[in-house]
Symmetry: C2
Subunit: 271 residues, 2 copies
């Protein structure tokens, strides 16, 4: 039997989703059905959300879990009417924090993922533009400005990691893919040499690479076991010879690859 899980927020719902998801993944024997209701910033919207929760309760005959990040006390209290187990992710900590900081919280709705200031927005835009215009080695001219340059064989995770680092951390991340021609008797390409201190390598298990490449070009040489093995072997040897830091992305999500790169390279977030 499945358990409904509602993430209820007066803002985007991202905070409730993030912690709520973290918590439910710790319970492996329960099948969860997740639903997010964002922008619940009035009593009317709260009423509508509680109706949905109660419907889920009727349907399953078991209390849904409800994770809330709600600031307004009236809206928040309304969820006590729900036939559900409510976890107040926000207020649980606000009281103790007020005591520790000796300051009243401002009770302002929707601050977390709002535009804190337009400088921040412009910086994120710049980082995204940079990642797009320096994706896949299309432009090597801006490498002076790059905070980091990811290198690796095609489809090892460079592009998603650059985009993630740009969006979430405001980091100017370029990436440069090694082509098939680069691979044999591998040397660090000339264009990268002046930026050696910004290089960070990715590698991946050949089997996994093959699987990812087959999605793009099935039955190609590009996706063949031999080609994948060869490229990975040569590139790893080059990283070691050139003493370039690298990580193996095989078992990691985009978030993990990105945060591990940050941790390993010592780069600080810019936003």
């Amino acid at each position: 039997m499945k358990r409904y899980v509602f993430m209820i927020s007066d803002g985007t719902g991202i905070t409730a989703e993030t912690l709520g998801h973290s918590l439910i993944t710790q319970f492996e024997n329960t099948k969860f059905e997740r639903l997010t209701i964002p922008y619940v910033d009035s009593l009317k919207k709260a009423e509508h959300a509680v109706e949905q929760i109660n419907q889920a309760f009727e349907e399953q005959g078991i209390k849904p879990l409800v994770f809330t990040t709600l600031i307004d006390p009236e809206v928040r209290n309304y969820f006590k009417k729900a036939n559900a187990r409510v976890f107040d992710l926000f207020n649980t900590f606000i009281g103790p924090m007020e005591e520790e900081l000796n300051e009243k919280s401002s009770y302002t709705v929707g601050k977390t993922h709002g535009v804190v200031n337009s400088k921040l927005y412009l910086h994120r835009l710049e980082a995204i533009d940079f990642a797009l215009s320096h994706d896949d080695g299309v432009k090597t001219r801006g490498y002076d400005k790059a905070d980091i340059i990811l290198i690796g064989v095609s489809r090892c995770g460079k592009t998603p990691s650059c985009l993630y680092m740009a969006l979430q951390y405001g980091i100017l991340a370029a990436n440069y893919p090694f082509t098939e021609e680069d691979i044999i008797g591998f040397k660090l390409p000339e264009v990268l040499k002046p930026y050696k201190n910004k290089l960070f390598g990715l590698t991946i298990d050949p089997q996994r690479l093959q699987q990812i490449r087959a999605e793009r070009r099935p039955n190609s040489k590009y996706a063949s076991p031999e080609q994948c093995r060869l490229e990975v072997k040569e590139v790893e040897a080059m990283y070691q010879k050139e003493k370039i830091s690298y990580i193996n992305s095989t078992k990691y999500s985009i978030e993990e690859i990105s945060t591990k790169i940050l941790a390993a390279s010592g780069l600080q977030r810019k936003i």
Copy 2:
């Protein structure tokens, strides 16, 4: 005086950062200095983190705030030694959840942002590839496959929103920018007509648009007040005439624009 805030996690640190950041933004009179320490998955790393926390305490003479998402009880308990106010974001809820679900939690480290399965990773890759190859109207051929097509004037927030929706929600999002030539006596471009039910419009206040465009091309006609006003006016009139749903992105972050688009269009997340 500033307060140090540490986000300590055995995984990426994203969950601790997200809720920790939500909470501290409610305290406007305190200046916070945020530090994330990810991948604290051994006693040795916990010792090192506690040293950093205690150093911050020595420096400021006031207890840092520490937000933890740690699974391992031994690692978690070690933070009791820190001269800090520790908020256990995880365990605070796990106990009550165990009781409600009548199930013991699995106490598995790093599940939240890990690769849950390779299908999920492949789906995210596909969504990112789609956003990149259908950015800025470069390719209109794949619109059949698109979940949504964002439209709007240049620099109103289409590209960041598409990338965010791809990365976070696995949504296939294309975007099509109106060019200067499109604008006068505005009509919906022919290429978009077959996909009218997938269109979602963005608009933006002319002043803000001008500011963003000036970052890219200062002192250009493109960034002039007249041009920005004209484009926004024409595009909004077209949305209304064609009955295309749209939102004004001016005051919103990338997260807010994306989640508002989802809410308004009824699109469901794919991951």
